[in-house]
C-alpha cells in the first residue's frame, strides 16, 4: 500500500472516530434530574487533582443525605459524592477506584442500603454510559457482563449501539447539557421539600421484628467486600453508615452491624434511636420523602459525621487551599438559603428569614384576615413593610429590601402587573368576592400557586431569576395560623 493511501486511511479513521465520539456523546441518554449521574460525572472529571479528602459513596440516600459543600464550608473538609440513585455496589467500587486515580483521599463514607437491594441493569448503564473510556471502565463492563456474549460487551463499550434509536427524541439537553443548570454540589444535593407525614416509628428500627427470610443480595455483598479490600489495601478509612429512611428495618440493621463487625469497620446506623436522638432529627420536618432527608436533615447528618470524622482523623483545612472555589461556595450558600426557606414550616421563622434577605415578595390577599394573626406575626410582617391591618377587602403589595415598594387596597377587584428587579413580570389579582376559584398570582404569565384564602406570596430571587417559594399564610378551621 502506498504511503499516501496509508495516510489517507489514517486521516479518514481519525475523522470517523471524532464524529463517532461526538455522536455517541449526543445520543447517550442523559440523566439531568434527580440524582443526575450525568452532572455528577461532569463534576467528577473536572475535579482538581488531590483536592478531595473524603469520598462519599452509596446510593441516592447519600446524594441527599450528606452535603459535601457544607462539610467544606463549615468544617474545611473537602469531600466529593459519587453516589447515585440505587447505585449497585459494583459501580460504587468502580467510582472508588476511578476517584482514586486522581485523588488522595483518606476516608470513604459508604451508605450500605444497597446490600439489601437488587441490582438493576439500568443503574449500570447510567454509570457506564457517562464514563470515558478507561481500563476501569472496561473492568466494570467485563464484570457486569460476565457470562454474556461478546456482543453485549461491545454494546456497553459503545453506547451508540444502545441509544442510536433516540434520533427522533433528541432535545436541547442532549447537545448542551454542560451548560444546563445542575443542583449538584460536589456530587451531593440539597432537597427543598418537606414530607410531614413521616412518624418516629417509620424511621427508628430499634425493637422492630426480625424477618428471618430477608437476606443480603449476594452480588452486592461480593462487591461490598471488594470495596472493603480496596480500602484496606490503599489505607483508606472506610466508615459505614445507614442514613435514616423508612424502608430500613431491624433485620437489615442487625445484618449490616454484623457485617461491619466481621470486617472490623465503624458503622453508624442513623435509624437507631441513639443516633436519631444524637443528631436531633425532627422527623416530620427533616425528610423530603420517606427515604431521603431534606436540607434540614442533611445538615444535621453532615454536621454529626464531620464532628465524628474530625474526632478520629486529621484533615487539612481545604478552605485555605488553592483549589477552594469561592464562586461555587457562594452558589451553594444561595442554594442553601433558598431551600432552607422552602422547607420552613413555621410562619414566624419564615417571615424572619425574609428579613434582610435578597428576596423580593409579591403579595396578594383578599378579605380581612387580621383577626387570625398573632401579634408576633403582625410584627414580623411590619418588619418587611406590611401593615396587615390595611388588608381588608382587596389588597396587593410588592416588597423589596424589607420595604413596601407598592401597595394597593380597594373595595373593587384589583389586577396589578409589576416587575421584579430583574425585569421579569408578575401579576397579582385580588377579588374578595371570588377568592378560591382561580389562581391569583402569576410570574411571567405562568400560574404560581393555587388560590387560597389568606396571604399569598411569591418569594422571588432576582440574582438567579427564580421563584423560590409560593407561600400562603392562612388560618385553619381551629383558628391556628398555618404556613403552606
Amino acid at each position: 500500500m502506498k504511503k499516501k493511501n496509508i495516510l489517507k486511511a489514517i486521516a479518514f479513521i481519525c475523522i470517523f472516530v471524532l464524529i463517532f465520539n461526538y455522536i455517541s456523546n449526543v445520543f447517550r441518554a442523559k440523566w439531568l434530574v434527580g440524582c443526575s449521574e450525568t452532572y455528577m460525572m461532569e463534576e467528577f472529571y473536572e475535579l482538581e487533582d488531590n483536592s478531595i479528602d473524603v469520598c462519599i459513596l452509596g446510593s441516592s440516600q447519600m446524594v441527599y443525605g450528606m452535603s459535601a459543600l457544607r462539610m467544606l464550608d463549615k468544617y474545611g473538609i473537602s469531600a466529593f459524592g459519587t453516589a447515585t440513585g440505587s447505585q449497585p455496589m459494583l459501580c460504587t467500587y468502580f467510582y472508588l477506584k476511578e476517584l482514586d486515580k486522581t485523588q488522595d483521599f483518606s476516608t470513604a463514607i459508604l451508605d450500605i442500603s444497597m446490600l439489601y437491594e437488587q441490582e438493576e441493569d439500568s443503574r449500570f448503564r447510567k454509570t457506564i454510559d457517562n464514563v470515558p473510556f478507561s481500563k476501569n471502565k472496561l473492568d466494570l463492563i467485563w464484570e457486569y457482563t460476565k457470562g454474556s456474549d461478546l456482543q453485549e460487551k461491545w454494546e456497553n463499550i459503545f453506547s451508540i449501539f444502545q441509544y442510536h434509536s433516540r434520533w427522533d427524541e433528541l432535545e436541547q439537553g442532549d447537545f448542551d447539557y454542560e451548560n444546563m443548570e445542575s443542583s449538584l454540589f460536589k456530587g451531593t444535593a440539597l432537597r427543598g421539600e418537606v414530607r410531614n407525614d413521616i412518624i418516629y416509628e417509620d424511621i427508628v428500627t430499634d425493637g422492630g421484628e426480625i424477618d428471618s427470610e430477608l437476606t443480603m443480595n449476594e452480588n452486592q455483598k461480593k462487591y461490598f467486600v471488594w470495596i472493603v479490600d480496596y480500602c484496606k489495601e490503599n489505607d483508606i478509612h472506610l466508615v459505614l453508615i445507614k442514613t435514616p429512611k423508612r424502608s430500613w428495618n431491624r433485620t437489615k440493621q442487625l445484618g449490616a452491624a454484623e457485617l461491619a463487625e466481621e470486617y472490623g469497620l465503624d458503622y453508624l446506623d442513623f435509624n437507631s434511636k441513639e443516633l436519631v436522638e444524637a443528631i436531633d432529627l425532627d422527623i416530620p420536618k427533616d425528610f423530603a420523602d420517606p427515604d431521603h432527608l431534606n436540607i434540614r436533615g442533611t445538615s444535621k447528618l453532615t454536621d454529626y459525621l464531620c464532628e465524628y470524622l474530625l474526632e478520629r482523623y486529621e484533615y487539612r483545612d481545604s478552605r485555605k487551599e488553592a483549589y477552594y472555589d469561592e464562586a461555587e461556595m457562594n452558589r451553594f450558600r444561595a442554594d442553601f438559603e433558598n431551600k432552607w426557606l422552602r422547607t420552613e414550616t413555621d410562619a414566624v421563622a419564615f417571615l424572619k428569614l425574609l428579613q434582610g434577605s435578597d428576596y423580593e415578595i409579591a403579595l396578594q390577599a383578599s378579605g380581612d384576615i387580621s383577626a387570625g394573626l398573632s401579634d408576633e406575626i403582625k410584627t414580623e410582617f411590619a418588619n418587611i413593610g406590611i401593615d396587615v391591618s390595611e388588608i381588608k377587602d382587596n389588597y396587593v403589595a410588592y416588597i423589596k429590601d424589607d420595604k413596601c415598594e407598592y401597595k394597593e387596597t380597594a373595595t373593587e377587584p384589583i389586577e396589578y402587573i409589576g416587575k421584579f428587579s430583574d425585569g421579569k413580570s408578575f401579576k397579582l389579582l385580588s377579588d374578595v368576592t371570588d377568592i378560591e376559584s382561580e389562581t391569583k398570582t402569576y410570574v411571567a404569565g405562568n400560574k404560581t400557586a393555587y388560590a387560597m384564602r389568606g396571604i399569598n406570596m411569591i418569594i422571588y430571587r432576582a440574582d438567579s431569576n427564580k421563584t423560590i417559594r409560593c407561600a400562603t399564610l392562612y388560618v385553619d378551621e381551629t383558628g391556628t395560623m398555618r404556613l403552606r
Binding site: M1, K2, F27, L150, E152, F161, H164
Partner: protein, 531 residues
C-alpha cells in the same frame, strides 16, 4: 454470528489484518481458517454435516475425475476406432453415474431429512394414528446446520459439473472445503459454482487499495438497505400481520407493498455485505440481483432475482428434465399427432416448469405455504411461456402500443404485483392468513385508515415512517441510476476528497444512527439465512 452483529465486523477486521499480513501464497489458508472459525462460532455441532458433504463430494469428484483421466489416457495411448472409443467413454460415464447417483442420494438425502422431517412428522403421525398404529415420530432432535442449502447446492453443482466434464476435479481437499465453506457466502449465498469461485480462490489474492475501499463501500450500502430500510419496515409489516384481526384492508395493502421492498432490501443488502466482504479479500462473488423490479415479465424477473439460485435450478433441474427422454418423447408424440403448437409447447413445458418451481418453493421452505408458492410460480411461468405470444397477439389486435415507456412501466408493475402475490402466500405464515389479508383488502379497505394515524399504530411511528420513505427513495434513485449504467461508487470516487469523504461518512453514520439494531431492538434476522 450474523452479518449485522458488531462481532462480525470485528471478525472481518481481524481476518483482514491477518490475511494481508500473511504471505500471498498462504492467504487462502487464512480464508479457510477464518471460515472454519466463523462456522465453528455458529456451532461446532454443525461441523460433521459440512465435513460429510464436502469430503464425500470431494472424494466423489476425485473418483470421477480419475475415471475420466484414465479413460482419456487409455484412449490416447491405444489405437481405438470410434466405436471402441465410445464404448470406453460410455463405460467411464456409467461408472461415474453410479458415483454421482450415490452421492446425490447421500447429500440430497441429508438435506431432505434435515429440512423435511419436521414438516413430515405431523402428517405421518396422523396417518399412523388413522391406521390405528401406536407410533409417534418426533423431530425435535433435528438440527439445521448453518447454510446447509447453500453449501449442499454449491457442492452438488461441483459434482454435476465434474460428471458433465465442465470443470476439472479438485485435487486438494482443503481447497475444496474453502470453496464450500467460504464464510462470506455460507450464510445466504450466492450459490457459487466451483468453476468460478473455486478458481477465483486459487488466484493470487493481493492487496488492492481501491478494491478494498470499494468492498467497504458495498458493505455500508448493504447495511443501509438491511438495517435502515428492511428492518425498519419489517416492524410495520410484522405488526400488521400479528394484529391482523384489527387490521383494515388498506393496512394490509400497505404491508403487501412494503413487503416487496422489505424482501428486496433485506436480501440484496445481505448480498452486498457478502460481496463487499469478499471484495476486501480480493475475491469477487457472483451478482445475485440485477434490478429485478425492472423486469417486464415473470421469467425475466427470475433471471434478475436470486440469480445464482435460479441459474442453479435452470442448469441442474430444468435443463436436464427438459432434455430428458421423457420430455423428448412427449414432444415427438405431440408432433406425431399433429397437435397445435401451443398445446405441444404446453405439454413439453409443464413437467420441467412444475418440477423446477415446486423444488424451488421447497428449497425456500417446507410448509404448505412454500408448496403453494412453488405451484403459484409454476403456473405463472407456464402461462407466460405457453401463452406469451398469444397475449402479445391479443395486444396487437387491441391496438396496444407495446413499445411505449408507459407500457413498460405497466409491465414492471404487473411483474411486481405477481411477485407481491407470491410473497403474500408465504409472508403471513399461513395460507389462511394470506387468504384473510387478500379478502380484507377487497372487502374491508377503510381508506381513511391511511390518513387518521392508524398507520402509525403498528410499531413504526410517524418519524420512522418518514425516515423509511426517504431511505426507500434513496434506494430507488440509486437503483434507477445503476440501471442506466451509472456506477455510483465510481462516480463518487471521481469527486474531490472532501465531498467524497463527506458522502462516505454520511452513509456510515446514517447506518449507525438510523439502523435498526442493538439491544433496543430485536433486529430481524436476514430472511434468507434460514435456508
Amino acid at each position: 454470528m450474523t452479518f449485522v452483529e458488531l462481532n462480525f465486523l470485528i471478525f472481518i477486521a481481524i481476518t483482514a489484518l491477518v490475511f494481508y499480513i500473511c504471505p500471498v501464497k498462504f492467504r487462502w489458508l487464512v480464508l479457510l481458517a477464518s471460515s472454519l472459525v466463523f462456522y465453528g462460532i455458529a456451532g461446532v455441532k454443525y461441523f460433521p454435516f459440512i465435513f460429510v458433504t464436502s469430503f464425500s463430494v470431494f472424494l466423489a469428484g476425485r473418483g470421477m475425475g480419475r475415471i475420466y483421466e484414465n479413460m482419456d489416457k487409455t484412449i490416447a495411448e491405444g489405437e481405438y476406432d470410434r466405436k471402441e472409443k465410445k464404448a470406453l467413454k460410455d463405460a467411464a460415464k456409467k461408472k461415474c453415474k453410479k458415483i454421482l447417483v450415490l452421492l446425490l442420494i447421500l447429500n440430497v438425502g441429508i438435506l431432505a431429512v434435515i429440512k423435511f422431517t419436521r414438516f413430515a412428522v405431523g402428517p405421518l403421525n396422523s396417518l399412523f394414528g388413522l391406521l390405528g398404529a401406536d407410533t409417534h415420530f418426533n423431530a425435535a432432535w433435528i438440527i439445521v446446520p448453518l447454510g446447509i442449502s447453500y453449501y449442499t447446492f454449491s457442492s452438488l453443482s461441483y459434482l454435476l459439473d465434474v460428471y458433465w466434464k465442465r470443470v476439472d476435479y479438485e485435487k486438494n481437499y482443503a481447497r475444496f472445503l474453502l470453496y464450500a465453506i467460504y464464510f462470506p457466502h455460507i450464510l445466504q449465498g450466492p450459490i457459487e459454482r466451483y468453476g468460478k469461485l473455486g478458481q477465483r480462490l486459487k488466484q493470487e489474492l493481493r492487496f488492492d487499495y481501491d478494491r478494498f475501499c470499494k468492498g467497504m463501500q458495498l458493505i455500508v450500502w448493504g447495511f443501509f438497505k438491511k438495517l435502515v430500510i428492511a428492518d425498519r419496515i419489517d416492524i410495520f409489516i410484522s405488526g400488521v400481520y400479528d394484529d391482523f384481526r384489527h387490521t383494515s384492508g388498506a393496512m394490509f395493502l400497505v404491508a403487501m407493498i412494503l413487503d416487496v421492498v422489505y424482501i428486496y432490501a433485506d436480501f440484496s443488502g445481505c448480498m452486498d455485505i457478502a460481496r463487499g466482504v469478499s471484495q476486501m479479500f480480493g475475491v469477487e462473488l457472483d451478482l445475485n440481483f440485477d434490478h429485478p423490479f425492472s423486469a417486464k415479465s415473470v421469467t425475466e424477473f427470475w433471471r434478475r432475482w436470486h440469480m445464482t439460485l435460479g441459474g442453479w435450478f435452470k442448469d441442474y433441474v430444468y435443463y436436464p428434465i427438459s432434455t430428458s427422454d421423457l420430455v423428448k418423447n412427449i414432444g415427438k408424440a405431440c408432433k406425431k399427432k399433429e397437435l397445435p403448437d401451443w398445446l405441444t409447447r404446453s405439454l413439453v413445458t409443464v413437467i420441467p416448469v412444475t418440477v423446477t418451481w415446486v423444488l424451488t418453493g421447497l428449497w425456500h421452505g417446507t410448509g404448505k405455504t412454500y408448496l403453494a408458492w412453488g405451484i403459484y410460480y409454476a403456473f405463472m411461468i407456464f402461462m407466460s411461456v405457453t401463452f406469451g405470444d398469444s397475449f402479445k397477439a391479443l395486444g396487437r389486435k387491441l391496438n396496444i402500443k407495446m413499445d411505449t415507456w408507459s407500457f413498460g412501466v405497466f409491465q414492471m408493475i404487473r411483474t411486481t404485483c405477481i411477485f407481491a402475490g407470491g410473497r403474500l402466500l408465504t409472508r403471513p405464515g399461513t395460507l389462511w392468513l394470506s387468504k384473510y389479508a387478500l379478502k380484507t383488502t377487497f372487502t374491508d379497505f377503510k381508506v381513511w385508515t391511511l390518513f387518521d394515524g392508524t398507520l402509525y399504530k403498528y410499531g413504526l411511528n410517524e418519524a420512522g415512517f418518514r425516515l423509511a420513505i426517504i431511505a426507500i427513495l434513496i434506494f430507488g434513485i440509486i437503483s434507477i441510476l445503476q440501471l442506466r449504467g451509472v456506477s455510483i461508487r465510481d462516480s463518487i470516487g471521481r469527486q474531490n476528497i472532501v465531498f467524497r469523504w463527506a458522502v462516505y461518512l454520511l452513509a456510515i453514520f446514517a447506518v449507525i444512527i438510523y439502523g435498526i439494531y442493538g439491544p433496543g431492538y430485536d433486529a430481524a434476522s436476514f430472511v434468507y439465512m434460514a435456508y
